[in-house]
Symmetry: C2
Subunit: 201 residues, 2 copies
Protein backbone atom coordinates (compact mmCIF):
# COMPACT_ATOMS: atom_id res chain seq x y z
CA UNK A 1 0.00 0.00 0.00
CA UNK A 2 2.99 2.29 0.48
CA UNK A 3 6.72 2.50 0.21
CA UNK A 4 8.33 -0.14 2.42
CA UNK A 5 10.83 0.95 5.07
CA UNK A 6 14.44 0.22 4.34
CA UNK A 7 15.36 -0.58 7.93
CA UNK A 8 14.52 -3.19 10.53
CA UNK A 9 13.27 -1.48 13.70
CA UNK A 10 14.63 -4.27 15.87
CA UNK A 11 18.11 -4.07 14.41
CA UNK A 12 18.03 -0.31 14.59
CA UNK A 13 16.94 -0.25 18.23
CA UNK A 14 19.76 -2.62 19.04
CA UNK A 15 22.28 -0.23 17.52
CA UNK A 16 20.67 2.69 19.32
CA UNK A 17 20.85 0.81 22.60
CA UNK A 18 24.53 0.10 22.16
CA UNK A 19 25.35 3.69 21.35
CA UNK A 20 23.39 5.08 24.30
CA UNK A 21 25.03 2.44 26.46
CA UNK A 22 28.44 3.66 25.43
CA UNK A 23 27.88 7.41 25.24
CA UNK A 24 24.96 8.17 27.51
CA UNK A 25 21.83 10.18 26.79
CA UNK A 26 23.25 13.67 26.58
CA UNK A 27 26.44 12.43 24.98
CA UNK A 28 24.60 10.96 22.02
CA UNK A 29 23.11 13.25 19.38
CA UNK A 30 20.34 12.51 16.95
CA UNK A 31 22.95 12.77 14.22
CA UNK A 32 24.88 9.97 15.90
CA UNK A 33 21.76 7.84 15.97
CA UNK A 34 20.99 8.54 12.34
CA UNK A 35 24.53 7.50 11.46
CA UNK A 36 24.57 4.31 13.50
CA UNK A 37 21.14 3.12 12.42
CA UNK A 38 21.44 4.19 8.80
CA UNK A 39 17.88 5.37 9.28
CA UNK A 40 16.22 8.53 8.14
CA UNK A 41 15.97 11.21 10.79
CA UNK A 42 12.26 11.67 10.31
CA UNK A 43 11.52 7.93 10.33
CA UNK A 44 13.34 7.69 13.61
CA UNK A 45 10.94 10.17 15.14
CA UNK A 46 8.02 8.42 13.48
CA UNK A 47 8.82 5.04 15.02
CA UNK A 48 9.79 5.91 18.58
CA UNK A 49 8.88 9.52 19.16
CA UNK A 50 11.42 11.98 20.51
CA UNK A 51 14.91 11.33 21.84
CA UNK A 52 13.77 10.71 25.37
CA UNK A 53 11.21 8.10 24.38
CA UNK A 54 13.80 6.45 22.16
CA UNK A 55 16.20 6.30 25.07
CA UNK A 56 13.64 4.64 27.29
CA UNK A 57 12.93 2.12 24.54
CA UNK A 58 16.66 1.40 24.38
CA UNK A 59 16.83 0.85 28.12
CA UNK A 60 13.90 -1.56 27.91
CA UNK A 61 15.64 -3.39 25.11
CA UNK A 62 18.75 -3.58 27.28
CA UNK A 63 16.75 -5.12 30.12
CA UNK A 64 15.09 -7.63 27.82
CA UNK A 65 18.29 -8.74 26.12
CA UNK A 66 21.44 -8.17 28.14
CA UNK A 67 19.80 -8.14 31.56
CA UNK A 68 17.46 -11.04 30.96
CA UNK A 69 20.32 -13.17 29.71
CA UNK A 70 22.26 -12.84 32.96
CA UNK A 71 19.20 -13.64 35.02
CA UNK A 72 18.24 -16.60 32.86
CA UNK A 73 21.70 -18.05 33.30
CA UNK A 74 21.35 -17.68 37.05
CA UNK A 75 17.94 -19.32 37.08
CA UNK A 76 19.21 -22.18 34.94
CA UNK A 77 22.13 -23.05 37.19
CA UNK A 78 21.68 -26.41 38.84
CA UNK A 79 23.76 -25.42 41.84
CA UNK A 80 22.35 -22.03 42.82
CA UNK A 81 25.21 -20.91 45.04
CA UNK A 82 27.76 -21.93 42.41
CA UNK A 83 25.61 -20.07 39.88
CA UNK A 84 25.87 -16.88 41.92
CA UNK A 85 29.63 -17.28 42.20
CA UNK A 86 30.00 -17.88 38.49
CA UNK A 87 27.91 -14.83 37.75
CA UNK A 88 30.27 -12.55 39.66
CA UNK A 89 33.38 -14.19 38.29
CA UNK A 90 32.07 -14.00 34.75
CA UNK A 91 31.19 -10.35 35.15
CA UNK A 92 34.57 -9.38 36.51
CA UNK A 93 36.19 -11.24 33.63
CA UNK A 94 33.91 -9.50 31.14
CA UNK A 95 34.83 -6.15 32.65
CA UNK A 96 38.55 -6.79 32.40
CA UNK A 97 38.16 -7.41 28.67
CA UNK A 98 35.92 -4.42 27.99
CA UNK A 99 38.44 -1.73 27.21
CA UNK A 100 35.72 0.70 26.22
CA UNK A 101 34.20 0.60 29.71
CA UNK A 102 30.51 0.25 28.92
CA UNK A 103 29.42 -0.37 32.47
CA UNK A 104 25.70 -1.03 32.89
CA UNK A 105 23.12 0.93 30.95
CA UNK A 106 20.64 0.80 33.81
CA UNK A 107 23.12 2.27 36.29
CA UNK A 108 24.32 4.82 33.78
CA UNK A 109 20.70 5.85 33.35
CA UNK A 110 20.15 6.14 37.08
CA UNK A 111 23.17 8.39 37.39
CA UNK A 112 22.53 10.55 34.37
CA UNK A 113 18.75 10.95 34.37
CA UNK A 114 17.55 9.55 37.66
CA UNK A 115 17.59 12.78 39.55
CA UNK A 116 15.08 14.59 37.37
CA UNK A 117 13.35 11.91 35.36
CA UNK A 118 10.82 9.89 37.34
CA UNK A 119 10.02 7.59 34.46
CA UNK A 120 13.65 6.67 33.89
CA UNK A 121 14.19 6.17 37.59
CA UNK A 122 11.17 3.88 37.80
CA UNK A 123 12.43 1.87 34.86
CA UNK A 124 15.86 1.44 36.42
CA UNK A 125 14.26 0.43 39.67
CA UNK A 126 12.30 -2.28 37.89
CA UNK A 127 15.47 -3.65 36.37
CA UNK A 128 17.41 -3.63 39.62
CA UNK A 129 14.48 -5.12 41.51
CA UNK A 130 14.29 -7.89 38.94
CA UNK A 131 17.95 -8.65 39.50
CA UNK A 132 17.46 -8.67 43.22
CA UNK A 133 14.51 -11.03 42.80
CA UNK A 134 16.65 -13.34 40.68
CA UNK A 135 19.25 -13.50 43.43
CA UNK A 136 16.52 -14.20 45.94
CA UNK A 137 15.12 -17.03 43.84
CA UNK A 138 18.57 -18.59 43.70
CA UNK A 139 19.02 -18.25 47.44
CA UNK A 140 15.61 -19.79 48.15
CA UNK A 141 16.51 -22.68 45.88
CA UNK A 142 19.77 -23.06 47.77
CA UNK A 143 17.91 -23.11 51.04
CA UNK A 144 15.54 -25.77 49.79
CA UNK A 145 18.57 -27.80 48.76
CA UNK A 146 19.98 -27.50 52.27
CA UNK A 147 22.93 -25.41 51.14
CA UNK A 148 22.12 -22.43 53.31
CA UNK A 149 23.00 -22.00 56.92
CA UNK A 150 19.88 -22.04 59.07
CA UNK A 151 18.63 -18.61 60.01
CA UNK A 152 20.05 -16.96 56.91
CA UNK A 153 17.55 -14.57 55.34
CA UNK A 154 17.43 -14.91 51.54
CA UNK A 155 15.86 -11.47 51.18
CA UNK A 156 18.66 -9.71 53.05
CA UNK A 157 21.39 -11.53 51.20
CA UNK A 158 19.64 -10.95 47.88
CA UNK A 159 19.79 -7.23 48.55
CA UNK A 160 23.45 -7.48 49.37
CA UNK A 161 24.21 -9.46 46.23
CA UNK A 162 22.23 -7.10 44.02
CA UNK A 163 24.04 -4.02 45.33
CA UNK A 164 27.37 -5.84 45.15
CA UNK A 165 26.72 -6.72 41.54
CA UNK A 166 26.00 -3.08 40.85
CA UNK A 167 29.26 -2.23 42.59
CA UNK A 168 31.15 -4.50 40.22
CA UNK A 169 29.42 -2.92 37.23
CA UNK A 170 30.31 0.49 38.57
CA UNK A 171 33.97 -0.50 38.65
CA UNK A 172 33.58 -1.40 35.01
CA UNK A 173 32.67 2.11 33.97
CA UNK A 174 35.25 3.35 36.37
CA UNK A 175 38.18 1.42 34.96
CA UNK A 176 39.26 0.06 38.33
CA UNK A 177 42.25 -2.32 38.33
CA UNK A 178 41.34 -5.96 38.06
CA UNK A 179 42.83 -6.81 41.43
CA UNK A 180 40.43 -4.41 43.11
CA UNK A 181 37.45 -6.02 41.42
CA UNK A 182 38.72 -9.49 42.26
CA UNK A 183 39.38 -8.61 45.88
CA UNK A 184 35.91 -7.15 46.18
CA UNK A 185 34.23 -10.16 44.60
CA UNK A 186 36.14 -12.59 46.77
CA UNK A 187 35.21 -10.86 50.00
CA UNK A 188 31.65 -10.10 48.93
CA UNK A 189 31.01 -13.72 48.00
CA UNK A 190 32.40 -14.86 51.33
CA UNK A 191 29.16 -13.58 52.85
CA UNK A 192 27.09 -16.26 51.14
CA UNK A 193 25.43 -17.97 54.09
CA UNK A 194 26.63 -21.38 53.01
CA UNK A 195 26.77 -24.26 55.43
CA UNK A 196 30.39 -24.28 56.60
CA UNK A 197 32.69 -25.81 59.16
CA UNK A 198 32.15 -22.92 61.48
CA UNK A 199 28.37 -23.29 61.45
CA UNK A 200 28.55 -27.05 61.89
CA UNK A 201 30.43 -26.73 65.14
Amino acid sequence: MARPREFDPDVALDAVMRLFWLQGFQGTSIDDLVRVTGMNRYSLYGVWGDKHALYLAAVRRYAESIGAEWMARLDASEDPLAGIREMFVAMSAAIAEDTSRHGCLALNTALELGRHDDVARGLVREILDAMQAAFERALVRARDLGQLAPGADPAVHARHLAVSFQAVLLQARNGAPRETVDAFVTVALSTLPEVSRCDVV
Copy 2:
Protein backbone atom coordinates in the same frame (compact mmCIF):
# COMPACT_ATOMS: atom_id res chain seq x y z
CA MET B 1 46.12 49.50 41.20
CA ALA B 2 42.93 48.33 39.56
CA ARG B 3 39.31 47.69 40.22
CA PRO B 4 38.91 45.07 42.97
CA ARG B 5 36.91 41.91 42.29
CA GLU B 6 33.50 41.74 43.87
CA PHE B 7 33.59 37.99 44.56
CA ASP B 8 35.55 35.57 46.72
CA PRO B 9 37.04 32.82 44.53
CA ASP B 10 36.85 30.30 47.35
CA VAL B 11 33.19 30.92 48.05
CA ALA B 12 32.44 30.88 44.35
CA LEU B 13 34.25 27.58 43.76
CA ASP B 14 32.29 26.08 46.60
CA ALA B 15 29.03 27.06 44.96
CA VAL B 16 30.27 25.78 41.61
CA MET B 17 31.23 22.48 43.19
CA ARG B 18 27.81 22.03 44.72
CA LEU B 19 26.03 22.76 41.47
CA PHE B 20 28.21 20.39 39.45
CA TRP B 21 27.72 17.81 42.18
CA LEU B 22 23.97 18.08 41.80
CA GLN B 23 23.61 18.55 38.06
CA GLY B 24 26.71 17.03 36.50
CA PHE B 25 29.07 18.50 33.94
CA GLN B 26 26.88 18.50 30.86
CA GLY B 27 23.78 19.28 32.89
CA THR B 28 25.23 22.55 34.17
CA SER B 29 25.54 25.52 31.85
CA ILE B 30 27.82 28.50 32.20
CA ASP B 31 24.69 30.57 32.74
CA ASP B 32 23.86 28.37 35.73
CA LEU B 33 27.34 28.96 37.12
CA VAL B 34 27.09 32.70 36.58
CA ARG B 35 23.79 32.67 38.42
CA VAL B 36 24.92 30.57 41.37
CA THR B 37 28.23 32.38 41.90
CA GLY B 38 26.89 35.83 41.24
CA MET B 39 30.10 36.25 39.27
CA ASN B 40 30.70 37.82 35.94
CA ARG B 41 30.91 35.42 33.05
CA TYR B 42 34.21 36.79 31.84
CA SER B 43 35.77 36.80 35.30
CA LEU B 44 34.83 33.18 35.65
CA TYR B 45 36.87 32.35 32.57
CA GLY B 46 39.67 34.56 33.81
CA VAL B 47 40.03 32.78 37.12
CA TRP B 48 39.68 29.11 36.18
CA GLY B 49 39.86 28.90 32.44
CA ASP B 50 37.19 27.06 30.47
CA LYS B 51 34.31 24.96 31.75
CA HIS B 52 36.29 21.75 31.81
CA ALA B 53 39.11 23.22 33.89
CA LEU B 54 36.54 24.72 36.23
CA TYR B 55 34.91 21.33 36.65
CA LEU B 56 38.22 19.69 37.53
CA ALA B 57 38.88 22.44 40.07
CA ALA B 58 35.46 21.72 41.58
CA VAL B 59 36.23 18.01 41.83
CA ARG B 60 39.51 18.80 43.58
CA ARG B 61 37.68 21.06 45.97
CA TYR B 62 35.23 18.23 46.64
CA ALA B 63 38.08 15.86 47.45
CA GLU B 64 39.72 18.39 49.75
CA SER B 65 36.58 19.27 51.65
CA ILE B 66 33.89 16.60 51.60
CA GLY B 67 36.18 13.65 50.92
CA ALA B 68 38.93 14.64 53.30
CA GLU B 69 36.42 15.14 56.09
CA TRP B 70 35.21 11.55 55.89
CA MET B 71 38.74 10.20 55.85
CA ALA B 72 39.85 12.41 58.72
CA ARG B 73 36.99 11.14 60.82
CA LEU B 74 38.04 7.57 60.06
CA ASP B 75 41.65 8.27 60.93
CA ALA B 76 40.63 9.95 64.17
CA SER B 77 38.54 7.07 65.44
CA GLU B 78 40.07 5.44 68.47
CA ASP B 79 38.52 2.08 67.70
CA PRO B 80 39.29 1.59 64.00
CA LEU B 81 36.79 -1.18 63.33
CA ALA B 82 34.06 0.75 65.08
CA GLY B 83 35.13 3.77 63.04
CA ILE B 84 34.60 1.85 59.83
CA ARG B 85 31.19 0.71 60.97
CA GLU B 86 30.17 4.21 61.96
CA MET B 87 31.30 5.53 58.62
CA PHE B 88 28.96 3.22 56.73
CA VAL B 89 26.09 3.78 59.10
CA ALA B 90 26.52 7.53 58.96
CA MET B 91 26.61 7.47 55.17
CA SER B 92 23.47 5.41 54.84
CA ALA B 93 21.75 7.79 57.24
CA ALA B 94 22.98 10.78 55.28
CA ILE B 95 21.67 9.23 52.09
CA ALA B 96 18.25 8.61 53.51
CA GLU B 97 17.95 12.28 54.36
CA ASP B 98 19.24 13.58 51.05
CA THR B 99 16.06 13.85 49.02
CA SER B 100 17.90 15.52 46.16
CA ARG B 101 20.12 12.47 45.66
CA HIS B 102 23.51 14.07 45.26
CA GLY B 103 25.49 10.85 45.33
CA CYS B 104 29.25 11.27 45.16
CA LEU B 105 30.83 13.82 42.86
CA ALA B 106 33.83 11.59 42.20
CA LEU B 107 31.67 8.67 41.10
CA ASN B 108 29.42 10.94 39.08
CA THR B 109 32.53 12.22 37.35
CA ALA B 110 33.79 8.73 36.63
CA LEU B 111 30.48 7.83 35.05
CA GLU B 112 29.95 10.98 33.07
CA LEU B 113 33.45 11.86 31.88
CA GLY B 114 35.61 8.89 32.71
CA ARG B 115 35.23 7.14 29.41
CA HIS B 116 36.73 9.90 27.30
CA ASP B 117 38.56 12.14 29.70
CA ASP B 118 41.85 10.73 30.95
CA VAL B 119 42.52 13.64 33.28
CA ALA B 120 39.16 13.33 34.98
CA ARG B 121 39.55 9.57 35.29
CA GLY B 122 42.98 9.97 36.86
CA LEU B 123 41.62 12.49 39.32
CA VAL B 124 38.80 10.17 40.34
CA ARG B 125 41.23 7.32 40.70
CA GLU B 126 43.33 9.40 43.08
CA ILE B 127 40.30 10.11 45.21
CA LEU B 128 39.15 6.51 45.33
CA ASP B 129 42.68 5.27 46.00
CA ALA B 130 42.94 7.71 48.87
CA MET B 131 39.75 6.31 50.33
CA GLN B 132 41.03 2.78 49.93
CA ALA B 133 44.26 3.78 51.63
CA ALA B 134 42.31 5.27 54.53
CA PHE B 135 40.45 2.00 55.01
CA GLU B 136 43.73 0.16 54.88
CA ARG B 137 45.24 2.42 57.52
CA ALA B 138 42.29 1.70 59.78
CA LEU B 139 42.60 -2.04 59.23
CA VAL B 140 46.32 -2.00 59.93
CA ARG B 141 45.64 -0.10 63.13
CA ALA B 142 43.02 -2.70 64.05
CA ARG B 143 45.50 -5.48 63.42
CA ASP B 144 48.09 -3.81 65.61
CA LEU B 145 45.45 -3.56 68.32
CA GLY B 146 44.80 -7.29 68.02
CA GLN B 147 41.27 -6.78 66.70
CA LEU B 148 41.83 -8.62 63.45
CA ALA B 149 41.66 -12.32 62.91
CA PRO B 150 45.10 -13.71 62.09
CA GLY B 151 45.71 -14.20 58.40
CA ALA B 152 43.33 -11.44 57.37
CA ASP B 153 44.83 -9.26 54.64
CA PRO B 154 44.22 -5.53 55.28
CA ALA B 155 44.85 -4.70 51.62
CA VAL B 156 42.20 -7.10 50.34
CA HIS B 157 39.63 -5.97 52.87
CA ALA B 158 40.45 -2.33 52.21
CA ARG B 159 39.61 -2.86 48.55
CA HIS B 160 36.35 -4.50 49.52
CA LEU B 161 35.42 -1.69 51.87
CA ALA B 162 36.29 0.99 49.35
CA VAL B 163 34.16 -0.58 46.63
CA SER B 164 31.37 -1.23 49.12
CA PHE B 165 31.42 2.40 50.14
CA GLN B 166 31.14 3.38 46.51
CA ALA B 167 28.22 0.99 46.22
CA VAL B 168 26.43 2.76 49.04
CA LEU B 169 27.07 6.12 47.40
CA LEU B 170 25.74 4.73 44.15
CA GLN B 171 22.49 3.80 45.88
CA ALA B 172 22.29 7.41 46.99
CA ARG B 173 22.12 8.75 43.46
CA ASN B 174 19.90 5.87 42.60
CA GLY B 175 17.25 6.50 45.22
CA ALA B 176 17.27 2.92 46.50
CA PRO B 177 14.98 2.15 49.45
CA ARG B 178 16.61 2.49 52.82
CA GLU B 179 16.10 -1.17 53.67
CA THR B 180 18.20 -2.17 50.69
CA VAL B 181 21.03 0.10 51.77
CA ASP B 182 20.80 -1.13 55.34
CA ALA B 183 20.75 -4.78 54.32
CA PHE B 184 23.77 -4.22 52.12
CA VAL B 185 25.71 -2.41 54.83
CA THR B 186 24.92 -5.06 57.41
CA VAL B 187 26.10 -7.92 55.25
CA ALA B 188 29.08 -6.04 53.85
CA LEU B 189 30.31 -5.13 57.32
CA SER B 190 29.96 -8.74 58.43
CA THR B 191 33.06 -9.43 56.37
CA LEU B 192 35.27 -7.39 58.68
CA PRO B 193 37.85 -9.96 59.76
CA GLU B 194 37.25 -9.29 63.41
CA VAL B 195 38.28 -11.77 66.05
CA SER B 196 35.07 -13.70 66.76
CA ARG B 197 33.78 -16.75 68.55
CA CYS B 198 34.09 -18.80 65.41
CA ASP B 199 37.75 -17.96 64.99
CA VAL B 200 38.52 -18.57 68.62
CA VAL B 201 37.24 -22.12 68.45
